[in-house]
Symmetry: C2
Subunit: 490 residues, 2 copies
């Protein structure tokens, strides 16, 4: 095997996804699992640049929709944490506890925030006074901590991950419900339009809600394999937290009322993981144009006799493109200790959208060779046309990527009337649609049976329109109150 090949990923994505993902992360220098705390992973520069871009576009969108930023303490006193019973039950097995400052034992243990409700809402209770202060929409960007089991996977599930959480308070339940719809719209805008990840929203069953929520609506990303991956979820908390945390306001009649709260938590690092897993190919990372740390790489191809001439032309070209496309990051890779072949592999591995090659023959013909990261197609472009070519390439690239990965949800779905049919369809990498007795707690035992027998999960009911209707629950045979979807998940 040549040196160049060895630097690439040694397996095909569809043959061994897990190995492919692990090698991609290491070889494209995205993260390093050798940090000496299990489940905590440094993100290297290439991933950090993209993750920061994702934060920025998400934050700008939330701000455009009326959210303001807050910077909140990372530590939450144990007593706050205990105020909402379901929240305690859901999170306390997964909390990291700070017990000492220097040599001194702290008077009260402090939780590393697993989510910020119990830090924020006591402050909201102080900040919100009257209906004039509502709606009150804020977001916090930062990391949260969850003491997960051993099944961590870089970006997908970690003991420290990076997210945004928005927490909004309204005077009426109706407005809160409207916010949940806005959050779902935001999710579509971000994930589908910006990050090229196809998703679908489900209302989660009662047993799979956010601890303390009235309802949870979660986006599932549709991965190639028929598996789904939970991405952002938005929660109607109603008055479940405003009562224990005393989030009240004076209404127009001068009466005290409890606010209605919603919260929404896009996990940027997890979405990044989904993006590299979904969009990547056998050669490595593929990234939407705007999110790539470098968008255009120029690679000079020369021997010692032609080096000066080629490098000069390549520099000229780099300068001209930079001047023309000010928002674009263009890199001339003039390292002379790396061969052109290795450079091709390296930048493909790292998902640079456009490669421009220039050698002595190209200079003679007043052209360059351009290589498309999605299709791998090579073509020659005349130097006089290069600016136009590049800017049109830039505006088409993400569209092309979305087109390639758009998944027709309906085409992945298989209807099933019995648990055996569910099993068979899941085995064929399908998402299953079935009748179900109930997504209230009554239905939990049927869901547990599916989990045990089929190793797949009830994702809940579709939030958009549902056209399928069933008579009976696929498990217990009782009348089906709901149409639900079952899928394996990451």
């Amino acid at each position: 095997m040549s040196k160049e090949k060895m630097k690439g990923i040694s397996v095909k994505k569809n043959e061994d996804f897990s190995q492919w993902y692990t090698e991609l992360i290491q070889k494209a220098e995205l993260a390093d699992i050798r940090y000496n705390v299990r489940g905590l992973v440094p993100y290297r520069a290439w991933a950090s640049i993209t993750i920061r871009k994702m934060y920025r576009v998400y934050e700008e969108t939330l701000e455009r929709k009326g959210h303001l930023p807050l910077i909140m303490p990372t530590l939450i006193p144990e007593s706050n944490f205990m105020l909402e019973a379901k929240h305690v039950e859901g999170f306390s097995p997964r909390v990291f506890w700070v017990t000492h400052g220097g040599d001194k034992e702290l008077e009260e243990r402090l939780a590393l925030r697993p989510t910020s409700e119990t830090a924020l809402y006591q402050m909201y209770s102080l900040w919100i006074r009257s209906y004039n202060d509502l709606p009150f929409k804020r977001y916090v960007s930062g990391q949260v901590f969850r003491y997960e089991g051993a099944d961590t996977r870089v970006f997908f599930r970690a003991r420290e991950f990076h997210w945004i959480e928005s927490h909004d308070v309204f005077a009426t339940e109706e407005e809160a419900k409207q916010q949940v719809i806005e959050d779902m719209e935001t999710t579509y805008e971000m994930l589908q339009d910006e990050f090229a990840i196809p998703i679908i929203f489900f209302q989660r069953p009662e047993w799979d809600k956010f601890p303390g929520a009235v309802h949870t609506y979660a986006a599932d990303a549709l991965m190639d394999s028929g598996k789904v991956l939970q991405l952002p979820s938005t929660h109607l908390l109603g008055q479940n937290f405003s009562i224990p945390f005393d989030v009240k306001f004076i209404d127009e009649n001068n009466d005290e009322q409890y606010g209605y709260i919603t919260c929404y938590g896009p996990a940027i690092s997890r979405i990044y993981g989904a993006m590299i897993a979904l969009l990547g190919d056998d050669n490595g990372l593929v990234l939407p144009w705007d999110l790539a740390p470098i968008q255009v790489v120029v690679i000079p191809i020369y021997r010692s006799a032609t080096k000066d001439e080629v490098l000069e032309k390549a520099r000229e070209l780099e300068t001209a493109l930079k001047k023309y496309m000010k928002e674009t990051t263009i890199k001339l890779d003039d390292r002379d200790y790396v061969s052109p072949g290795e450079k091709f592999n390296e930048w493909e591995l790292k998902g640079v959208p456009l490669r421009i090659e220039i050698g002595p023959k190209d200079i003679q013909n007043e052209q360059v060779v351009v290589v498309n990261r999605i299709s791998g197609n090579k073509e020659s472009v005349k130097l006089v046309d290069l600016k136009n070519y590049t800017s049109s390439y830039a505006s088409n690239f993400t569209k092309e990527l979305k087109k390639k990965h758009s998944i027709q949800f309906e085409a992945q779905v298989q209807l099933a009337q019995t648990v055996d049919e569910v099993k068979k369809a899941i085995g064929e990498n399908k998402i299953v649609c079935s009748g179900f007795c109930s997504i209230d707690l009554d239905g939990e035992s049927c869901a547990e049976l599916i989990e045990k027998e089929v190793k797949a999960f009830v994702r809940g009911k579709r939030v958009d329109t549902e056209k399928h209707k069933f008579e009976k629950c696929v498990v217990c045979g009782k009348p089906a109150k709901e149409t639900i979807y079952i899928a394996r998940s990451y």
Copy 2:
């Protein structure tokens, strides 16, 4: 006292700085000290927006100078932390320790990072292979934790604060020293040019270095009162960390060498504190143009008969200005439950650089009234001139602010030959310049005497040129190796 007055700050800044600062933070809604963990403080939206802008301009500058971002774990295993002896000694009394995950005691305690050397350098040791990888320049943006004593003050000194830390590795000591100079230049660019905070750099004495550094160079901000406040510092770590953390590279002769490391830590939240303390006045916050969350506020002044007409004109004006100045945040304050007088006070308190008032008379005269936040001056501007007026106002505002707060360092300095002279000058709010035996550890006892007798601190020797020269140490009378500065500090 009128309702409006009560909402303002009740004391003058130069009469009771401490009370002024506390009220400013509360009344301008910058932060809230009522969070129930001592030394941890939520930053409200108004402060968070500015702090995020400060991060962005700082990060862009570091990137322009060749740094790439990293996202690093917040938790550091105790064993890493113990590798560099001076570092342990300096930081371990101030570390918050995580000991439990859920109910389980962790096998090894984890430190909430007080700074990231001991997390980063083990990774650098894996990532840096050859001289081709050098210089290796990275930065981490985020919060750090220090278990400080009771003397915390919002933004200035907290148990969790927000900073950037850059950590750079070089092949030679000379390049590392050059980086320290670049870091100081960056500090001047940011603090003086962007944030309007006058600073001066001192090389800190041996006893006041960063734990583990060869040399520490720190910026002191010159506050009105003759007191100084330590702001960013940059540290030559040399090989002090590269040896225990094994940060090596293969040089051009194929020999293994240890790298030379520098680190630089601008504490954004502390700089924000310095900025509001230094630039603020008796009416509240004053912020540089680019850092204000809202730059222009339009206040309509009407009675019920003129309401529609005035609001319509104000909206027109808002729309026209927004279209003309796309980068500027312009707010029309059309709340009808707040009086114009209260609005004036509120936006002055919050440091909005430009206020535009418009009432029925102004409409008749085709003009508006504009109020300058620095000078408080009011003037009328014709509607046809408003766009030009505003854009020229925008480009002058920060210059004006810098001019107002530029402090001639020399004018604050008083030379002193004896401890009594030092005491007298410090009492007169001067910074003292004296001869000193040594800034090596030999001089520590003389510095301790000054601290005890004068309640002031040896800041070190000037990094730029020093024109004063003394024969003897101001304390012990031995030959003066150095010229140093003594000041009270926040």
